[in-house]
């Protein structure tokens, strides 16, 4: 039974009355029911405000500021404001609290404890504006060696290729389903990936027929709910990825709240309108590694061995042996999603407290695959809160072949990370299915913003590679020698097999 408890608002909407022209644009733009006009002036129900900043941006008079709610609790470290809010909420609703995006808790970032090298004197650095610096990356299984013989003036080469995807830069977009995000958002992502020459995930939502034209840039997700998984979906894409887990909620399946399941989503996923799309926690035909091998085999058969088939897992304690098993089960790439990864809807308790950092996951998986002599059998794609190009370079140096982005892509399109994605009220038109909200997102502008982001980061990657004296990205993969650890815990440096600064 819902028992409402009145509490202090987290944020307050401060409106400058002298400047406000009562155009009421803010009341239309707010999707959380905060603002209305009472006949005299704009009034706000502050405790509904989530600091999405939509009203502040859209006010033509710039009359609005979103400020912290100014009721102060007596300070208490154990029951700080956040903790108190969680208890108030659960006492009110009796439910599991959901949230969107990645964890907001101040866990340390291992990336921030790693520094990059540069070449001087003994080795010239390279200027990417004047010399080629290559970022082309292959995703998929590689031959361990080539068999080439020479007969007179001819090389006889035993042709051995495995299906692979060519990325022009070591970036991919992770899985955000049509359903969790809107149609224009999905379109923008796919168009941008096509223009830049990389691939994007479909998420659990299946592939809408309108997007088949981008097939060469699509990484189709086969998740536990098997939403939308049918032959057309499997055959017209560049890669297939079995979703075992996700960094934001290790052990849980996908979750699309019923609020976001409209006609369009229902058709693509083949479920009734308005039902929660709750994916099973495990695949109910994968209870062991040998079962996974069967599914990988089945997908390869169904796709006629034309595309690489990968597996995504959340980064957890046993990531290394799990990944090793996955590769031996036939996966062509392994995607690791760190605990800071984002989501459209996840219980807060899992989002904030489960999983391990992507930095250590990649380091241990790369190391384990090398120890077993199978590193060449699969590419490693890593993600989970990748923030900028420096993170990309560092995770590649730790052993990843490419990264997957999620939250950064949404932020580039205009998301303010207010973490209300699960409610389907996204005022920016990104994480919603409401038609009047979806229309707020301009596909062309969003496409351009993503292209700009990918290109800017690729240029930054080249700048750093040049400074490292490396002219091709493959010479940075697993090159932990070019990193140094500056953090407080030498054990982490040891686990990453990265030297301490000064060494």
């Amino acid at each position: 039974m819902h028992v409402r408890l009145k509490t202090a608002p987290r944020f307050k909407v401060r409106i400058s009355r002298e400047v406000c022209r009562h155009c009421e644009r803010c009341t239309v733009n707010c999707t959380f029911g905060v603002l209305s006009h009472n006949g005299t002036e704009i009034v706000a129900e502050h405790d509904k405000c989530v600091a999405c900043q939509r009203c502040a941006i859209m006010c033509p008079q710039q009359a609005i500021s979103i400020i912290p709610g100014d009721i102060h609790y007596a300070p208490h470290s154990t029951f700080n404001e956040r903790q108190r809010m969680i208890i108030y909420e659960q006492a009110s609703s009796g439910g599991v609290l959901l949230s969107g995006m990645g964890t907001d808790l101040p866990y340390m970032s291992i990336f921030d404890d790693l520094l990059l090298d540069a070449c001087q004197v003994t080795n010239p650095s390279i200027d990417p504006l004047r010399e080629p610096v290559e970022t082309l990356t292959y995703i998929g299984r590689k031959p361990k060696s080539l068999r080439v013989s020479q007969v007179n003036g001819s090389f006889i080469v035993e042709k051995e290729t495995f299906p692979h995807v060519v990325l022009q830069t070591p970036i991919t977009v992770g899985h955000m389903s049509l359903g969790s995000i809107s149609y224009p958002a999905m379109t923008a992502i796919l168009r941008a990936c096509k223009e830049v020459g990389i691939m994007a995930g479909t998420g659990e939502g299946g592939l809408h027929p309108d997007f088949y034209q981008y097939g060469d840039h699509v990484n189709s997700e086969v998740a536990s709910g098997r939403f939308g998984v049918e032959p057309k979906y499997l055959k017209n894409v560049a890669a297939l990825e079995i979703k075992i887990g996700q960094g934001a909620k290790p052990g849980h399946g996908g979750h699309l709240p019923g609020e976001k399941v409209n006609k369009l989503i229902a058709e693509t996923r083949m479920i009734p309108v308005g039902t929660d799309a709750l994916s099973p926690y495990p695949h109910h035909d994968i209870y062991s590694i040998e079962d996974l091998q069967q599914l990988i085999g089945a997908l390869k058969e169904a796709s006629r061995y034309k595309v690489p088939v990968g597996v995504k897992i959340a980064a957890v304690h046993n990531s290394a042996p799990i990944a090793s098993g996955i590769v031996r089960a036939g996966a062509d790439f392994v995607t690791l999603d760190g605990f800071k990864g984002g989501t459209g809807a996840s219980p807060r308790v899992i989002r904030d407290h489960a999983g391990i950092p992507i930095e250590t996951a990649v380091a241990s998986v790369d190391q384990r695959l090398r120890e077993e002599g199978i590193r060449h059998q699969a590419s490693i794609i890593a993600g989970g809160g990748i923030r900028y190009a420096a993170d990309i370079l560092k995770i590649i140096a730790l052993g990843a072949d490419a990264v997957m982005l999620g939250q950064a892509v949404l932020i580039a399109m205009g998301c303010r990370a207010c973490q209300q994605c699960h409610r389907g009220l996204c005022p920016w038109g990104i994480a919603t299915q409401e038609p009047n909200l979806v229309s707020r997102l301009d596909t062309d502008i969003s496409t351009q913003r993503l292209v700009n982001l990918f290109k800017a980061w690729t240029e930054e990657i080249k700048e750093i590679l040049g400074a490292l004296g490396i002219d091709s990205i493959e010479s940075l993969v697993g090159n932990r020698d070019r990193l140094r650890y500056i953090g407080p815990n030498p054990k982490i440096a040891e686990i990453l097999d990265v030297k301490h600064v000064g060494e």
Binding site: T122, L146, S149, G153, S154, G373, E474, S475, E503
Partner: protein, 406 residues
């Protein structure tokens, strides 16, 4: 009792050494023997390229009477280390012969001087039947270098040897009496390391079996290359870039049996832009190389000379694809003597009638073979003079259960 590490870094030492260097090599393709005076003159004239902290020579064809045995030429901290090595070798190999390495008293060579000894070995009879002799002996070399304290194997090839040490190139040459050694195929290296001390084992050439490398350069892809070769059983113990280059080339040339040109294409590949201008099977082949050998690519500036004995004695010179370190090639005596060097002065000073001098293109190998002479001048891009034919793969892919040689 204080035990000083002379031949290799102490356990736990992991600071890498970066070197500037001078390299020189030559081969008389008809096998005409001459003394080592010439190679010594070539290397000592390039004085600015060294700082007295290491030099070395690789010389081929010097044990014709024992040419079927692996010659392990050893640097040893002391007699105790020699005993440990002899114990180990006698248990795992057949010691056919052993002797001290001939040296001359040379006060200028950096003290302390290690014990210098060599063993002529053959794999044990029963092992010969079970597995490839080289794979077997490789485990032994890796073990000695990584696990036996105070012992380092300078060279392990048949009918050849590496002589290297800590000092100016002229002094090291005098120490090993290089001028008294007769051969048709010499390589030399002088070193300018950026950190001291120079371990006797840290000088070049680096060697594994008959493959010797002299290297001027700094590898920016060292961490990537090291982890790649470790997957195949190699162990990097000397903290220098040249060691990993040796292992990559051993892997590609001896174990994977790639033709020399193709091994060079893997180590110093063309840019993607250039590759995409090819067509048909050449395009497929280039893409396949870049895809398969991503972790083998040697990034950073380098010029190297590689010496080999099997199946035919050969000398190879290669630079990185930006050619950030120098390498010139030259011929004399109607093309029957071929020289490679960091600098032209080394070729001019030795009193040869130099005929042609040229600078090979960045990333393109000069290849010289005994008998055939110059196989590749390094002036045309790879595949310009070759056809490529792709055929279906014959044998199945390596089993997923295959473990690295260890």
């Amino acid at each position: 009792m204080y035990h000083q590490e002379i031949v290799k870094p102490p356990k736990g030492y992991d600071r890498r050494s970066f070197d500037a260097c001078g390299i020189s090599a030559f081969m008389n393709v008809d096998g005409k023997m001459e003394s080592g005076e010439k190679i010594v003159k070539m290397i000592t004239t390039m004085m600015d390229r060294e700082n007295g902290l290491g030099a070395g020579f690789a010389i081929y064809g010097i044990f014709p009477d024992r040419k079927d045995y692996f010659c392990f030429q050893m640097l040893l901290d002391d007699e105790e280390a020699k005993r440990r090595v002899r114990d180990y070798l006698s248990r795992h190999t057949m010691i056919v012969d052993e002797e001290p390495i001939p040296t001359r008293e040379t006060p200028a060579v950096r003290q302390p001087i290690p014990v210098l000894w060599r063993f002529f070995l053959s794999p044990l009879e029963e092992k010969k039947r079970e597995q490839d002799a080289y794979d077997y002996m490789m485990r032994i070399v890796m073990y000695i270098n990584a696990e036996i304290d105070g012992a380092f194997c300078m060279s392990s090839g048949k009918n050849m040897a590496v002589f290297k040490g800590n000092g100016w190139s002229g002094d090291v040459a005098h120490f090993y009496a290089i001028d008294e050694i007769q051969s048709y195929f010499f390589m030399a290296h002088s070193r300018f390391p950026t950190n001291t001390p120079g371990w006797w084992g840290g000088a070049h050439p680096f060697n594994l079996f008959d493959l010797s490398i002299i290297h001027n350069g700094e590898i920016t892809s060292y961490g990537t290359n090291k982890r790649y070769v470790e997957m195949f059983g190699y162990r990097c113990t000397l903290m220098t870039d040249s060691e990993v280059v040796t292992y990559i080339l051993d892997l590609l040339i001896r174990r994977q049996k790639l033709p020399l040109q193709v091994a060079c294409m893997a180590a110093a590949p063309a840019y993607h832009k250039v590759i995409e201008s090819h067509e048909g099977e050449k395009l497929s082949f280039w893409r396949l190389i870049r895809e398969t050998y991503r972790p083998a690519m040697i990034n950073g500036p380098f010029s190297i000379c590689v010496g080999m004995n099997e199946p035919t004695p050969a000398l190879l010179g290669l630079t990185d694809r930006k050619k950030l370190r120098p390498l010139i090639a030259a011929t004399s005596r109607g093309g029957r003597s071929v020289f490679l060097s960091s600098e032209e002065c080394a070729v001019r000073i030795i009193g040869e009638e130099v005929e042609q001098v040229w600078a090979p293109l960045a990333g393109n190998p000069v290849i010289v073979e005994k008998g055939s002479g110059i196989v590749s001048k390094g002036e045309t891009p790879p595949l310009a003079d070759h056809q490529v034919k792709m055929i279906p793969k014959a044998a199945p892919e390596d089993s997923a259960l295959e473990h690295p040689v260890s």
